[in-house]
């Protein structure tokens, strides 16, 4: 406990960066993932190809490599801090998985919903936005919840590029206090502070929507 007291501000600073990176990456990957999911189910061949390539690339390369590539190569052209590189890497990586979850959600909605909307005069985009996606997200919620929890834990990637997050600060504390064990226990608890409420919220959403349906 004295370790926590002694380094409290360091832990809190790490916690803040982890939380911020998680929130940005969550919103970013949800938007990107949904866009690429729509491209993959669109009638445009180019759209399907681009969507597919994007998902395959970012889903099948380790997060660490994506992040290091941003930090070491891309950062030479576009200036960015480790925090930015880590958060962008996390967003790109997670968005590929979100795209797959959303795509599965869209495909689970019977084709008649889209046909009914198109025959009714709606454009593809209107039908997607108003009819298909609201139903698809309901189906995808358990899987999206998993992705979001993974995202929070994966944000520890920031530590590799000097991202000032929990893991990064933890490494510093462990190195200067020599109490590795306690340090990582404390770090673990801080992660739980984000992930536990998140998973309860997802569960709550799931039961609420089930009741409604």
């Amino acid at each position: 406990m004295s370790l926590l007291n002694q380094y409290f501000s360091v832990f809190v600073q790490g916690f803040g960066h982890t939380l911020l990176a998680s929130i940005i990456a969550l919103i970013g990957s949800l938007v990107l993932g949904t866009l690429f999911a729509i491209m993959q189910v669109s009638s445009s061949k180019t759209g399907r190809i681009i969507g597919n390539i994007y998902v395959q690339v970012f889903r099948n390369i380790p997060l660490l490599i994506i992040t290091l590539f941003l930090y070491l190569a891309v950062a030479k052209v576009i200036k960015m801090t480790g925090f930015v590189a880590g958060t962008v890497g996390l967003t790109l990586y997670t968005s590929a998985f979100i795209a797959e979850s959303v795509r599965a959600g869209i495909l689970s909605i019977e084709a008649g919903q889209m046909e009914g909307a198109r025959a009714n005069g709606l454009t593809f985009n209107q039908a997607m936005r108003v009819i298909i996606l609201p139903q698809a997200f309901k189906v995808a919620i358990p899987s999206l919840g998993n992705q979001f929890i993974n995202l929070v834990k994966n944000s520890s990637i920031l530590a590799f590029v000097g991202g000032l997050d929990l893991m990064y600060q933890g490494n510093l504390v462990a190195a200067s206090s020599f109490d590795t064990f306690t340090t990582y226990i404390i770090i673990g608890v801080f992660y739980l502070v984000i992930t536990m409420p998140l998973s309860y919220y997802v569960q709550h959403l799931e039961t609420k929507l089930k009741k409604k349906a």
Partner: protein, 245 residues
């Protein structure tokens, strides 16, 4: 003036020739019933008219637009050509009232108060005003289909396509849906094209009957002529089979 015109239309699914040399002209205001054994291409034909299926060859003119022309904006045609499906295809995430009001709002930008007034009138017309705030899942099949008809009518289309509208319904539900369709045929000047197996409906309502088999139109005659004296042996056989039921 013709509302719908097929000229030498061909449609394939891979090697399967789904529509074979289809030539057909339907005038504005006509009520036409399309019948034939399953797999004959009736649904495919009706679904080409609002572009849910594309044609490979020939010309298909709907409301003056050429559907085979890549420059044609399909949404312009769909604004004026409604469709009622076998499986209703109501929006599962919207109330009955919202189902009817959605397309007029998004596509026609109809004034909200006016939109609601028209939607309630249509619900009244199909006998479901009390279901305005229900979700589709709470309705019976027959009720769903009547809402689907109201949804199509809300766009005030020039033509309405019915793709086996009663085939998925329990027998006791069919009558209510056919009654609504009969009223539309009688009271409106819309062009109606109906794929159905309901022969009594065809006899009572249709100006013309078209008989299809194997992707071809085999017979196209006035309703009396078709039922009293079908010329095609396949049509005769089909009629004797369905009229046993």
């Amino acid at each position: 003036m013709s509302m719908i015109e097929f000229k030498d239309v061909q449609k394939y699914y891979g090697d399967f020739h789904a529509l074979h040399d289809v030539n057909l002209k339907i005038d504005a205001g006509e009520t036409v019933v399309l019948i034939g054994p399953s797999g004959s291409g009736k649904s495919t034909l009706i679904r080409t008219i609002n572009g849910l299926e594309e044609i490979e060859e020939g010309q298909l003119l709907v409301d003056g637009f050429d559907l085979h022309d890549p420059k044609t904006d399909i949404n312009k045609i769909r604004k004026n050509v409604g469709m009622v499906f076998q499986h209703f295809n109501l929006y599962n995430n919207k109330t009955v009232l919202e189902n009817i009001m959605l397309a007029p709002r998004l596509v026609l930008h109809r004034d909200e108060a006016e939109n609601k007034r028209i939607a309630m009138e249509l619900l009244e017309q199909v006998g479901l005003a009390d279901k305005a705030n229900s979700m589709p899942a709470a309705l019976s099949g027959g009720q769903k289909q009547r809402v689907a008809i109201a949804r199509s009518l809300a766009m005030k289309p020039k033509a309405l396509l019915f793709d086996e509208p009663t085939s998925a319904l329990d027998p006791e539900m069919i009558g209510d849906v056919l009654d609504v369709m009969r009223d539309i045929a009688r009271d409106s000047d819309m062009t109606l094209l109906v794929v159905t197996h309901e022969m009594s409906f065809a006899k009572a309502v249709a100006d013309r009957v078209i008989f299809m088999a194997d992707g071809r139109i085999l017979e196209d005659s006035s309703t009396e002529a078709f039922f009293e004296n079908p010329t095609e042996p396949r049509a005769k056989k089909f009629l004797s089979q369905v009229e046993h039921h």
